[in-house]
Symmetry: C2
Subunit: 195 residues, 2 copies
């Protein structure tokens, strides 16, 4: 009977991403993903609740990294600096996987359902970040506002990172985006290139 | 046959909000809303696609106000100031309707489906704002980042505005939130009260 297969999760992810890219998310079945990975559907469902979950399973790891590094920032830093530490850690986690991130983003952009799911995941990430800041003693509305601008910085840097023309690493783009945030919030006019 | 009824839309909105608050969104039917408003279902469907749309129909008006005032800000102001003009205009539009906004927010908070719809509407608002900034000549990623922090400011000020304990008007809270954004982005520690 179905035994644990080493590397099964990674093989299923790779097969799913390939099939979503080739045939579209809506046109791909769990049976096809499992077959391409050389595994059974039963194994698929031990790793993922459904075919959508293959795209969003990494969100928990990302959130743990973001929240953990924010929580562990030195006590005496300002809220935005604690968030910056979290964002850099999350970016470092993804940093080696730019091809995968690019492929995933193209799949998500292709489907209204997936775009909505992505928005909901980002909102959860923001909520978790705000909660982490409150636990650090940051009051409201500062905690929520800092968390939301942190997510805005992450999204902006992420878009630049996965751009085909980009050659900078993700943590560096996070820093550039934080600098631009500071400048924009202060009412300065943006430079054309903030790299 | 069904003729145009003056004030029908407003009566349907009021009836729907009452029923959603009393019985829950999921447990309310279009038939009940129409009956309470003293109108036919046919009239309901001339104004709204479905019962969810009653809660989100105002989003278009809000977006028009936000985008219009941002687009019409003086040419020489910084992006965040153009957005500030848009946010203040949108806040002024809602300002007299705090009881309704509070009731609506409680209904939305009660349903996962409605919370998701609200996130999607806010994301559309952010996209429209970024597009408005690009038309003003703001490049990327500054346009997207400014739009997203603008939406974060709006959400934070909105939460404070509908708080039962609040007695400040919405445009004033927008200004307080913009000041806090500037201070947080600069790496300052938040004051306990930014009112």
């Amino acid at each position: 009977m179905a035994r644990w297969t080493p590397g099964a999760r990674g093989r299923l992810e790779q097969a799913a991403f390939e099939l979503y890219s080739e045939n579209g998310f809506d046109n791909t079945t769990v049976a096809e993903i499992s077959a391409r990975a050389g595994l059974t559907e039963r194994t698929f469902f031990r790793h993922f609740a459904d075919k959508r979950e293959v795209l969003f399973g990494g969100a928990t790891t990302l959130q743990d990294e973001l929240v953990g590094a924010t929580a562990n920032a030195p006590d005496d830093v300002a809220p935005i600096q604690a968030v910056a530490a979290g964002l850099e850690a999350a970016a470092a986690l993804l940093s080696e996987r730019v091809a995968l991130a690019r492929q995933r983003q193209a799949i998500i952009a292709s489907s209204a359902e997936l775009r909505e799911r992505e928005l909901i995941k980002l909102a959860s990430l923001g909520d978790a970040l705000a909660e982490t800041l409150r636990k650090r003693g940051v009051g409201e509305p500062a905690a929520s506002l800092t968390a939301e601008i942190g997510i805005a910085v992450f999204r902006t840097a992420f878009e630049r990172w996965i751009d085909e023309a980009n050659d900078q690493d993700f943590p560096r783009l996070i820093n550039a985006s934080l600098e631009q945030l500071k400048s924009l919030a202060a009412g300065e006019r943006p430079l054309v290139d903030v790299g």
